[in-house]
Symmetry: C2
Subunit: 416 residues, 2 copies
């Protein structure tokens, strides 16, 4: 049987957005968590700000750690588990980089040894701050930290091997780890779709305790195919299956850690349908750990300079009223829970092949994204009713690897 | 009579340095202020951090304002008045720029209209937060914000007129001003010594309620002449006199807002002498509002990445023990207070001439700094016992202007 995944939300506080982390107001967070719990979810993913936690390279503020522990306890009051992202870092189009890495102190968080040590110390400290909370699920290193690569105008360039070193240094930082906790990292889809990007698919699929996927149709999918097209509502499913091609463990879990309904592509009236169809499609995959919607609350219009979509991504408005999107999300969650465990997939017996080099790097990551040949072939087969997987060309040449995943038919896409 | 100026310290909290402003711990600040008051000073200048006050362009955090008011009250407990710098901004080699002005939101605090409006709103809000505190002296816009011009690697370039507009917009922001309050701005000596720098002497000497001067001998003065040379111990006096050349009001007050004893130039055993001779020299000037030493407390070695001098600039160590430098400073303050008001200077009847253009911009600001011809001539006369002032070439051609300052002899320096 494949168990029903967890359902949760990425927590964007109703008041002061992530700046709430500068000094947690328990009354605000308690009210937010009450409204979130009423949606039927079991967990929140939370995002303290890096400069608040570690304003100096060698200073980790105890009060900021205490605030994380406090938020964990507030979540527990409402039956919610909590997953903590350590390094923000990047959030909704804003970058929060501490003063010890900018301007006169211009540094590179990925390659400077003192900066890596400092981040590892922070990961360890945050872990210790919540390790013994019964509702603590685990850590993610930070939200889409690969956004500090190009095309960020303040990019901190790193080579692939340097990224590997940074990831392993930080993922290994928690001491006395409880094996029930999940330690992961996360990236936006540049990792999957952009050639030259130094974060690569094997980082996502082999580093950390499970693979995380962030699915956003504003990446060209909605613009190319339509926001309610099969390609858009199956974009998350596609990313999940794509990621499995690069895992060494065929049963490695995948966490759909972010997916949301962006207003530049979807009318508000279309968002509930997008939500339902997206989750339904994701639920056809095996070994799905969780679906964590982006996000809990709209950003208030009182805050300036966000891209317009951020003001309407919430399941809840800033007064904790459930929006139509939130109602539909809650229904889908309830339906999934009611359906309970389903038979494990017979296995996706058909797989589209991604050509890779000796390091399992795709020869063309562009072919994997919207408009790409592999992307389009997978979706065409899927639309024809085939439960189609993805394999690398290396795995395609390895009968044992194919057998382990139950793959019996390969679909090769002509190179463009 | 010329009254004795105020004496104070720039407040660098003993614990967590300026990160103390992320959440004020009253016990820490109270103990610090007790130790500061024991030095015999009457005021502190304080530096909340910009991203703590205004993390989003349209969000000014009430808690951060409350912390400023709290610190004002803690100062009052120890008989200390308080002056608040609003925008930090730049502090001891670190830049604190909020996320709404960097990377994807790359902006210019001096020239972007929304950014100027936001800063003006912050100046107004900080003013309102402390306006009615009996011990509130006034505001400085921020600490050396001209450090966000070149050569800062993240410079936000502005032209002179744009700087003027920014200054007037922010200086005019406080509403319902109490005329007893002092509203100023501050710059490092690039304003005085660097050609091409868009902050210019007339900004310092004509904008705001008084002129502020920041005197640091690490600017080449100590390296060129020796750290206990006449040029070094009279560097502050020189800057005060230089600033007077550009004032339109001959009685405009000058605030020696920062002066300190840098360890790259001075052995610890030399610091007390430097302190005493520097203050004694400054006290020979008229209309001196205050001498505010940099700084109250050493930076703890537990904090990383500061330039080495920052760890030893304090009058007090991080345990609130008075250092030899602090003892000497306290003695000098006590002596000055005991001496009381002194006869107003007979006026400095001799003045070195600074050649300026039609906008009162020096033709060579390099000539005003260490190694420069005007700088050296002034110091040579001063060392000969002349109480020498500075005038612009425009004033030198204006008998009324000379008479207003009691200047009867002009010393012209050959252009280099």
């Amino acid at each position: 049987l494949t168990t029903t995944p967890r359902f949760g939300v990425n927590y964007t506080p109703s008041k002061d957005w992530m700046f709430q982390w500068m000094a947690i107001d328990p009354a605000v967070v308690r009210a937010d968590f009450e409204a979130i719990a009423a949606l039927g979810v079991d967990h929140v993913r939370v995002f303290p700000l890096w400069p608040v936690l570690q304003p100096n390279r060698t200073l980790i503020r105890q009060r900021a750690l205490d605030d994380i522990a406090l938020v964990a306890d507030l979540a527990a009051e409402h039956g919610l588990d909590i997953s903590v992202d350590v390094i923000q870092g990047h959030m909704s189009g804003f970058d929060f980089v501490p003063a010890w890495l900018v301007n006169w102190h211009d540094g590179n968080m990925f390659t400077d040894r003192p900066a890596i040590d400092a981040q590892a110390a922070l990961v360890s400290a945050v872990y210790d701050a919540v390790r013994d909370k019964p509702n603590f699920l685990g850590l993610t290193l930070g939200n889409e930290l690969n956004q500090f690569q190009r095309p960020n105008p303040a990019a901190m360039p790193a080579k692939r091997d340097e990224v590997t070193h940074w990831l392993t240094s930080l993922l290994g930082a928690p001491r006395d780890r409880d094996p029930r906790h999940v330690v992961t990292h996360s990236e936006n889809d540049h990792l999957w779709y952009r050639d030259e990007h130094p974060f690569v698919p094997v980082h996502a699929a082999r580093q950390g305790d499970m693979t995380t996927v962030h699915s956003w149709i504003f990446n060209g999918t909605a613009a190319t195919y339509g926001a309610l097209s099969p390609q858009s509502v199956r974009h998350a499913e596609w990313m999940i299956e794509l990621s499995k091609a690069f895992a060494t463990d065929p049963r490695r879990q995948v966490w759909l850690q972010e997916v949301g309904a962006p207003s530049m592509n979807l009318a508000e009236s279309e968002m509930p349908e997008f939500c339902a169809r997206t989750i339904e499609a994701a639920l056809t995959t095996d070994d799905l750990y969780a679906v964590t919607w982006w996000c809990s609350h709209d950003v208030t219009r009182e805050l300036g300079d966000y891209k317009d979509l951020e003001y309407s991504l919430g399941l809840l408005d800033t007064e904790n009223n459930v929006k139509p999107l939130g109602r539909r999300f809650a229904e889908v969650v309830a339906e999934a829970r009611a359906a309970g465990a389903r038979p494990a997939g017979s296995g996706r017996a058909t797989a589209v092949v991604v050509d890779v080099d000796a390091d399992d790097l795709p020869l063309s990551r562009a072919s994997l994204g919207p408009g790409g040949a592999v992307f389009e072939r997978w979706h065409a087969l899927r639309e024809d009713g085939v439960e189609v997987a993805v394999v690398t060309s290396a795995a395609a040449a390895d009968p044992a690897a194919l057998a382990a995943r139950g793959i019996r038919e390969l679909v090769r896409v002509d190179a463009v």
